[in-house]
Protein backbone atom coordinates (compact mmCIF):
# COMPACT_ATOMS: atom_id res chain seq x y z
CA UNK A 1 0.00 0.00 0.00
CA UNK A 2 1.47 3.39 -0.95
CA UNK A 3 1.60 6.48 1.24
CA UNK A 4 -1.34 8.14 -0.53
CA UNK A 5 -3.60 5.13 0.07
CA UNK A 6 -2.53 4.94 3.72
CA UNK A 7 -3.30 8.63 4.22
CA UNK A 8 -6.71 8.16 2.59
CA UNK A 9 -7.45 5.17 4.84
CA UNK A 10 -6.40 7.11 7.96
CA UNK A 11 -8.56 10.06 6.94
CA UNK A 12 -11.56 7.77 6.41
CA UNK A 13 -11.07 6.23 9.88
CA UNK A 14 -10.86 9.65 11.48
CA UNK A 15 -14.01 10.88 9.74
CA UNK A 16 -15.89 7.73 10.76
CA UNK A 17 -14.82 8.22 14.42
CA UNK A 18 -15.79 11.90 14.17
CA UNK A 19 -19.31 10.98 13.10
CA UNK A 20 -19.50 8.44 15.94
CA UNK A 21 -18.56 11.09 18.55
CA UNK A 22 -21.05 13.56 17.10
CA UNK A 23 -23.79 10.92 17.30
CA UNK A 24 -22.87 10.17 20.95
CA UNK A 25 -23.22 13.92 21.53
CA UNK A 26 -26.75 13.86 20.05
CA UNK A 27 -27.77 10.91 22.28
CA UNK A 28 -26.40 12.44 25.51
CA UNK A 29 -27.77 15.88 24.67
CA UNK A 30 -31.21 14.46 23.89
CA UNK A 31 -31.47 12.45 27.09
CA UNK A 32 -30.19 15.41 29.18
CA UNK A 33 -33.68 16.90 28.76
CA UNK A 34 -35.07 14.26 31.16
CA UNK A 35 -33.09 15.36 34.27
CA UNK A 36 -33.10 18.93 32.92
CA UNK A 37 -36.90 18.97 33.01
CA UNK A 38 -37.70 17.07 36.23
CA UNK A 39 -35.21 19.02 38.36
CA UNK A 40 -37.54 22.04 38.15
CA UNK A 41 -40.28 20.39 40.24
CA UNK A 42 -37.91 19.22 42.99
CA UNK A 43 -37.02 21.17 46.12
CA UNK A 44 -35.27 23.49 46.71
CA UNK A 45 -35.81 24.78 43.15
CA UNK A 46 -39.61 24.48 43.34
CA UNK A 47 -39.73 26.39 46.66
CA UNK A 48 -37.15 28.90 45.41
CA UNK A 49 -39.24 29.63 42.34
CA UNK A 50 -42.39 30.18 44.46
CA UNK A 51 -40.59 32.29 47.07
CA UNK A 52 -39.01 34.65 44.50
CA UNK A 53 -42.22 34.81 42.44
CA UNK A 54 -44.10 36.21 45.48
CA UNK A 55 -41.80 39.22 45.68
CA UNK A 56 -40.36 39.70 42.17
CA UNK A 57 -42.87 38.10 39.79
CA UNK A 58 -42.92 34.85 37.81
CA UNK A 59 -40.49 35.89 35.06
CA UNK A 60 -37.68 37.00 37.38
CA UNK A 61 -38.28 33.94 39.59
CA UNK A 62 -37.81 31.57 36.66
CA UNK A 63 -34.63 33.25 35.43
CA UNK A 64 -33.06 33.38 38.91
CA UNK A 65 -33.98 29.73 39.60
CA UNK A 66 -32.56 28.80 36.18
CA UNK A 67 -29.28 30.48 37.15
CA UNK A 68 -28.95 28.31 40.26
CA UNK A 69 -29.93 25.12 38.37
CA UNK A 70 -27.43 25.96 35.60
CA UNK A 71 -24.71 26.66 38.16
CA UNK A 72 -25.30 23.24 39.75
CA UNK A 73 -25.41 21.69 36.28
CA UNK A 74 -21.96 23.17 35.55
CA UNK A 75 -20.66 21.82 38.86
CA UNK A 76 -21.84 18.25 38.25
CA UNK A 77 -20.57 18.43 34.63
CA UNK A 78 -17.14 19.25 36.05
CA UNK A 79 -17.32 16.13 38.27
CA UNK A 80 -18.35 13.98 35.28
CA UNK A 81 -15.47 15.40 33.23
CA UNK A 82 -12.97 14.66 35.98
CA UNK A 83 -14.13 11.01 35.83
CA UNK A 84 -13.83 11.10 32.00
CA UNK A 85 -10.31 12.54 32.13
CA UNK A 86 -9.32 10.16 34.94
CA UNK A 87 -10.44 7.08 32.99
CA UNK A 88 -8.53 8.33 29.93
CA UNK A 89 -5.42 9.28 31.95
CA UNK A 90 -5.59 12.94 30.89
CA UNK A 91 -4.87 14.75 34.18
CA UNK A 92 -1.31 15.70 33.13
CA UNK A 93 -2.59 17.03 29.80
CA UNK A 94 -5.24 18.99 31.71
CA UNK A 95 -2.58 20.71 33.82
CA UNK A 96 -0.43 21.43 30.77
CA UNK A 97 -3.34 22.97 28.83
CA UNK A 98 -4.36 25.07 31.86
CA UNK A 99 -0.86 26.57 32.10
CA UNK A 100 -0.95 27.60 28.41
CA UNK A 101 -3.55 30.31 28.99
CA UNK A 102 -2.59 32.83 26.31
CA UNK A 103 -2.20 30.35 23.49
CA UNK A 104 -5.30 28.19 23.94
CA UNK A 105 -7.20 28.46 27.25
CA UNK A 106 -8.54 31.92 26.36
CA UNK A 107 -10.62 30.39 23.56
CA UNK A 108 -12.23 27.91 25.96
CA UNK A 109 -13.00 30.60 28.54
CA UNK A 110 -14.61 32.66 25.77
CA UNK A 111 -16.57 29.56 24.66
CA UNK A 112 -17.77 29.12 28.25
CA UNK A 113 -19.38 32.58 28.17
CA UNK A 114 -21.35 31.76 24.99
CA UNK A 115 -22.23 28.23 26.03
CA UNK A 116 -23.01 29.02 29.68
CA UNK A 117 -24.73 32.32 30.45
CA UNK A 118 -26.15 32.50 26.95
CA UNK A 119 -26.96 29.00 25.64
CA UNK A 120 -27.52 26.75 28.66
CA UNK A 121 -29.38 29.41 30.63
CA UNK A 122 -31.46 30.17 27.52
CA UNK A 123 -32.32 26.51 27.14
CA UNK A 124 -33.44 26.30 30.79
CA UNK A 125 -35.56 29.45 30.34
CA UNK A 126 -37.22 27.95 27.25
CA UNK A 127 -37.82 24.71 29.16
CA UNK A 128 -39.27 26.48 32.20
CA UNK A 129 -41.52 28.90 30.29
CA UNK A 130 -42.70 26.67 27.43
CA UNK A 131 -41.63 23.03 27.80
CA UNK A 132 -38.98 20.35 27.32
CA UNK A 133 -39.85 19.47 23.71
CA UNK A 134 -39.82 23.13 22.65
CA UNK A 135 -36.51 23.80 24.39
CA UNK A 136 -34.97 20.73 22.77
CA UNK A 137 -35.81 21.75 19.23
CA UNK A 138 -35.52 25.56 19.58
CA UNK A 139 -31.75 25.33 19.86
CA UNK A 140 -31.61 23.44 16.54
CA UNK A 141 -30.86 26.68 14.71
CA UNK A 142 -27.34 26.80 16.15
CA UNK A 143 -25.49 25.32 13.10
CA UNK A 144 -26.78 28.27 11.06
CA UNK A 145 -25.11 30.71 13.45
CA UNK A 146 -21.97 28.52 13.56
CA UNK A 147 -21.70 28.39 9.75
CA UNK A 148 -22.21 32.14 9.31
CA UNK A 149 -19.59 32.89 11.96
CA UNK A 150 -17.15 30.43 10.40
CA UNK A 151 -17.66 32.14 7.03
CA UNK A 152 -16.90 35.62 8.36
CA UNK A 153 -14.20 34.58 10.85
CA UNK A 154 -12.16 31.80 9.22
CA UNK A 155 -13.26 32.62 5.65
CA UNK A 156 -14.84 29.15 5.54
CA UNK A 157 -16.59 28.77 2.19
CA UNK A 158 -20.26 27.85 2.29
CA UNK A 159 -21.07 25.45 -0.54
CA UNK A 160 -24.43 25.38 -2.34
CA UNK A 161 -25.31 22.13 -0.56
CA UNK A 162 -24.47 23.64 2.84
CA UNK A 163 -26.56 26.73 2.01
CA UNK A 164 -29.54 24.50 1.17
CA UNK A 165 -29.07 22.66 4.45
CA UNK A 166 -29.01 25.96 6.33
CA UNK A 167 -32.20 27.13 4.57
CA UNK A 168 -34.00 23.88 5.50
CA UNK A 169 -32.91 24.33 9.14
CA UNK A 170 -34.22 27.92 9.10
CA UNK A 171 -37.57 26.63 7.76
CA UNK A 172 -37.62 24.11 10.59
CA UNK A 173 -36.94 26.89 13.08
CA UNK A 174 -39.80 28.95 11.64
CA UNK A 175 -42.08 25.94 12.07
CA UNK A 176 -40.92 25.47 15.67
CA UNK A 177 -41.30 29.11 16.67
CA UNK A 178 -44.21 30.04 14.39
CA UNK A 179 -46.41 27.07 15.25
CA UNK A 180 -46.03 27.53 18.99
CA UNK A 181 -46.40 31.29 18.72
CA UNK A 182 -49.68 30.97 16.74
CA UNK A 183 -51.10 28.64 19.41
CA UNK A 184 -50.04 31.02 22.17
CA UNK A 185 -51.40 34.08 20.31
CA UNK A 186 -54.78 32.40 19.85
CA UNK A 187 -54.95 31.68 23.58
CA UNK A 188 -53.90 35.26 24.40
CA UNK A 189 -50.86 34.09 26.36
CA UNK A 190 -47.46 34.68 24.77
CA UNK A 191 -44.51 33.58 26.97
CA UNK A 192 -42.03 35.74 24.99
CA UNK A 193 -39.23 35.08 27.47
CA UNK A 194 -39.44 31.37 26.58
CA UNK A 195 -38.87 32.20 22.91
CA UNK A 196 -36.01 34.51 23.90
CA UNK A 197 -34.49 31.59 25.81
CA UNK A 198 -34.70 29.43 22.67
CA UNK A 199 -32.98 32.15 20.66
CA UNK A 200 -30.24 32.51 23.30
CA UNK A 201 -29.61 28.76 23.06
CA UNK A 202 -29.23 28.86 19.25
CA UNK A 203 -26.93 31.90 19.17
CA UNK A 204 -24.90 30.75 22.19
CA UNK A 205 -24.16 27.22 20.99
CA UNK A 206 -23.49 28.34 17.40
CA UNK A 207 -20.98 30.94 18.57
CA UNK A 208 -19.40 28.52 21.03
CA UNK A 209 -18.81 25.93 18.29
CA UNK A 210 -16.99 28.43 16.09
CA UNK A 211 -14.83 29.65 19.00
CA UNK A 212 -14.08 26.10 20.17
CA UNK A 213 -13.03 25.16 16.62
CA UNK A 214 -10.37 27.86 16.86
CA UNK A 215 -9.14 26.69 20.29
CA UNK A 216 -9.03 23.02 19.25
CA UNK A 217 -6.50 23.87 16.51
CA UNK A 218 -3.85 23.96 19.24
CA UNK A 219 -5.16 21.84 22.10
CA UNK A 220 -6.60 18.46 22.98
CA UNK A 221 -10.46 18.25 23.19
CA UNK A 222 -10.85 16.38 26.52
CA UNK A 223 -8.63 18.85 28.36
CA UNK A 224 -9.94 21.85 26.41
CA UNK A 225 -13.56 21.08 27.21
CA UNK A 226 -12.78 20.62 30.92
CA UNK A 227 -11.22 24.10 30.93
CA UNK A 228 -14.32 25.43 29.18
CA UNK A 229 -16.43 24.12 32.10
CA UNK A 230 -13.91 25.46 34.63
CA UNK A 231 -14.58 28.85 33.04
CA UNK A 232 -18.33 28.31 33.21
CA UNK A 233 -18.14 27.37 36.92
CA UNK A 234 -16.17 30.57 37.59
CA UNK A 235 -18.82 32.61 35.73
CA UNK A 236 -21.71 31.12 37.72
CA UNK A 237 -20.24 30.59 41.20
CA UNK A 238 -17.81 33.51 41.44
CA UNK A 239 -19.59 36.17 39.35
CA UNK A 240 -23.32 35.68 38.70
CA UNK A 241 -24.55 33.83 41.84
CA UNK A 242 -22.77 36.31 44.22
CA UNK A 243 -24.12 39.29 42.24
CA UNK A 244 -27.69 37.92 42.50
CA UNK A 245 -27.14 37.30 46.24
CA UNK A 246 -25.90 40.88 46.67
CA UNK A 247 -28.98 42.19 44.85
CA UNK A 248 -31.07 40.39 47.47
CA UNK A 249 -32.05 36.98 46.05
CA UNK A 250 -31.70 34.06 48.52
CA UNK A 251 -29.15 32.20 46.38
CA UNK A 252 -26.96 30.68 49.08
CA UNK A 253 -29.75 29.51 51.40
CA UNK A 254 -31.38 27.60 48.52
CA UNK A 255 -28.02 26.38 47.18
CA UNK A 256 -27.28 24.71 50.53
CA UNK A 257 -30.72 23.05 50.48
CA UNK A 258 -29.92 21.42 47.11
CA UNK A 259 -27.85 18.84 48.99
CA UNK A 260 -30.83 16.51 49.22
CA UNK A 261 -30.54 12.88 47.96
CA UNK A 262 -33.08 12.94 45.10
CA UNK A 263 -32.14 16.45 43.93
CA UNK A 264 -28.45 15.55 43.99
CA UNK A 265 -29.11 12.31 42.11
CA UNK A 266 -30.96 14.17 39.34
CA UNK A 267 -28.24 16.84 39.19
CA UNK A 268 -25.55 14.16 38.92
CA UNK A 269 -27.35 12.52 35.97
CA UNK A 270 -27.75 15.96 34.38
CA UNK A 271 -23.98 16.38 34.84
CA UNK A 272 -23.11 13.00 33.30
CA UNK A 273 -25.33 13.51 30.25
CA UNK A 274 -24.33 17.12 29.67
CA UNK A 275 -20.63 16.60 30.38
CA UNK A 276 -20.35 13.56 28.12
CA UNK A 277 -22.46 15.26 25.42
CA UNK A 278 -20.10 18.23 25.40
CA UNK A 279 -16.87 16.24 25.45
CA UNK A 280 -18.01 14.07 22.53
CA UNK A 281 -19.14 17.24 20.68
CA UNK A 282 -15.66 18.77 21.10
CA UNK A 283 -13.98 15.47 20.16
CA UNK A 284 -15.84 15.47 16.83
CA UNK A 285 -14.69 18.97 15.76
CA UNK A 286 -11.02 18.22 14.95
CA UNK A 287 -12.05 15.02 13.12
CA UNK A 288 -14.92 16.19 10.90
CA UNK A 289 -14.96 19.99 11.32
CA UNK A 290 -17.24 22.29 13.29
CA UNK A 291 -20.01 22.40 10.65
CA UNK A 292 -20.38 18.64 10.35
CA UNK A 293 -19.97 18.13 14.11
CA UNK A 294 -22.75 20.61 14.72
CA UNK A 295 -24.85 19.07 11.94
CA UNK A 296 -24.81 15.57 13.44
CA UNK A 297 -24.98 16.95 16.96
CA UNK A 298 -28.17 18.66 15.80
CA UNK A 299 -29.86 15.27 15.89
CA UNK A 300 -30.18 15.90 19.64
CA UNK A 301 -33.55 17.55 18.95
CA UNK A 302 -34.88 14.37 17.39
CA UNK A 303 -33.32 12.27 20.20
CA UNK A 304 -34.87 14.52 22.87
CA UNK A 305 -38.35 14.22 21.36
CA UNK A 306 -37.93 10.41 21.26
CA UNK A 307 -36.62 10.19 24.86
CA UNK A 308 -39.33 12.55 26.14
CA UNK A 309 -41.95 10.42 24.36
CA UNK A 310 -40.47 7.13 25.68
CA UNK A 311 -39.90 8.16 29.30
CA UNK A 312 -42.49 10.93 29.86
CA UNK A 313 -45.12 9.71 27.40
CA UNK A 314 -45.41 13.27 25.99
CA UNK A 315 -46.46 13.43 22.34
CA UNK A 316 -45.19 16.79 20.97
CA UNK A 317 -47.33 19.14 18.84
CA UNK A 318 -47.23 18.48 15.09
CA UNK A 319 -45.49 21.82 14.44
CA UNK A 320 -42.61 20.82 16.73
CA UNK A 321 -42.36 17.41 15.04
CA UNK A 322 -42.39 19.02 11.57
CA UNK A 323 -39.80 21.62 12.63
CA UNK A 324 -37.58 18.97 14.18
CA UNK A 325 -37.78 16.80 11.05
CA UNK A 326 -36.90 19.75 8.80
CA UNK A 327 -33.92 20.64 10.99
CA UNK A 328 -32.70 17.04 10.88
CA UNK A 329 -33.16 16.94 7.08
CA UNK A 330 -31.12 20.16 6.84
CA UNK A 331 -28.37 18.65 8.98
CA UNK A 332 -28.23 15.53 6.78
CA UNK A 333 -27.94 17.67 3.65
CA UNK A 334 -24.99 19.47 5.25
CA UNK A 335 -23.04 16.48 6.49
CA UNK A 336 -23.55 14.22 3.45
CA UNK A 337 -21.33 16.53 1.40
CA UNK A 338 -18.27 15.04 -0.27
CA UNK A 339 -15.63 14.41 2.44
CA UNK A 340 -12.79 15.64 0.23
CA UNK A 341 -14.26 19.14 0.62
CA UNK A 342 -13.49 19.07 4.35
CA UNK A 343 -9.85 20.17 4.09
CA UNK A 344 -10.45 22.94 1.60
CA UNK A 345 -13.31 24.60 3.51
CA UNK A 346 -10.99 26.37 5.95
CA UNK A 347 -9.76 29.67 4.54
CA UNK A 348 -6.89 30.56 6.93
Amino acid sequence: MDLKALKKQESKRKISKGYMWAFFCALFWGIWYLPGTVVWVLNPFDKMNSAIAETSGDGIALVVTAVLITAFNALTVMLALMVWNGVLGKYKELGRTLREFHTCSKWFFLASICGGPMAILGSFIAMGFIGGSFAAVAGLLYPVIGSILAYYWYGERISKRAAIGIAVIVLGGVSIYGGGLLNELSSGNVPWIGYLGGLMAAIGWGTEGAIAGKGLDISEPDAGLTLRFLGENIIWWIIIVPILALVGFPMYSFAVQAFEPLTLLILIFAGITFGFCYVTWYKSFPLIGVGRGQGIGNLYGFCAVIFIFLFFGDVPDWTIILGGLLCIAGSFIMFTEDTSALETLRGD
Binding site: M20, F28, V41, K47, W84, G89, F311
Partner: protein
Protein backbone atom coordinates in the same frame (compact mmCIF):
# COMPACT_ATOMS: atom_id res chain seq x y z
CA UNK B 1 -34.64 20.10 52.93
CA UNK B 2 -36.57 16.93 52.20
CA UNK B 3 -38.92 16.66 49.26
CA UNK B 4 -42.50 17.76 49.96
CA UNK B 5 -45.50 15.59 49.03
CA UNK B 6 -46.37 18.09 46.26
CA UNK B 7 -42.83 17.92 44.82
CA UNK B 8 -42.82 14.10 44.85
CA UNK B 9 -46.28 14.02 43.25
CA UNK B 10 -45.09 16.34 40.45
CA UNK B 11 -41.90 14.28 40.03
CA UNK B 12 -43.77 10.95 39.85
CA UNK B 13 -46.31 12.44 37.43
CA UNK B 14 -43.56 12.84 34.83
CA UNK B 15 -43.00 9.06 34.65
CA UNK B 16 -46.62 8.03 35.14
CA UNK B 17 -47.55 8.15 31.42
CA UNK B 18 -44.39 6.50 30.14
CA UNK B 19 -44.75 3.60 27.73
CA UNK B 20 -41.75 1.96 29.45
CA UNK B 21 -42.29 0.05 32.74
CA UNK B 22 -40.32 1.41 35.74
CA UNK B 23 -39.36 4.43 33.65
CA UNK B 24 -38.33 6.38 36.77
CA UNK B 25 -35.42 3.96 37.24
CA UNK B 26 -34.71 2.77 33.71
CA UNK B 27 -33.78 6.24 32.39
CA UNK B 28 -30.89 6.30 34.84
CA UNK B 29 -29.83 2.75 33.91
CA UNK B 30 -29.93 3.74 30.22
CA UNK B 31 -27.70 6.77 30.88
CA UNK B 32 -25.19 4.69 32.84
CA UNK B 33 -24.96 2.08 30.05
CA UNK B 34 -24.52 4.82 27.44
CA UNK B 35 -21.83 6.49 29.56
CA UNK B 36 -19.89 3.23 29.99
CA UNK B 37 -20.03 2.55 26.23
CA UNK B 38 -18.80 6.11 25.50
CA UNK B 39 -15.91 5.75 27.97
CA UNK B 40 -14.94 2.40 26.48
CA UNK B 41 -14.96 3.92 22.98
CA UNK B 42 -12.90 6.86 24.23
CA UNK B 43 -10.25 4.54 25.70
CA UNK B 44 -10.12 2.58 22.45
CA UNK B 45 -9.82 5.88 20.55
CA UNK B 46 -6.91 7.05 22.75
CA UNK B 47 -5.00 3.82 22.10
CA UNK B 48 -5.56 3.91 18.32
CA UNK B 49 -4.99 7.62 17.50
Amino acid sequence: MTQTAAAMEAYNAYWANSIIPAADVLWMVFILILAIVALWQARTFVSKF
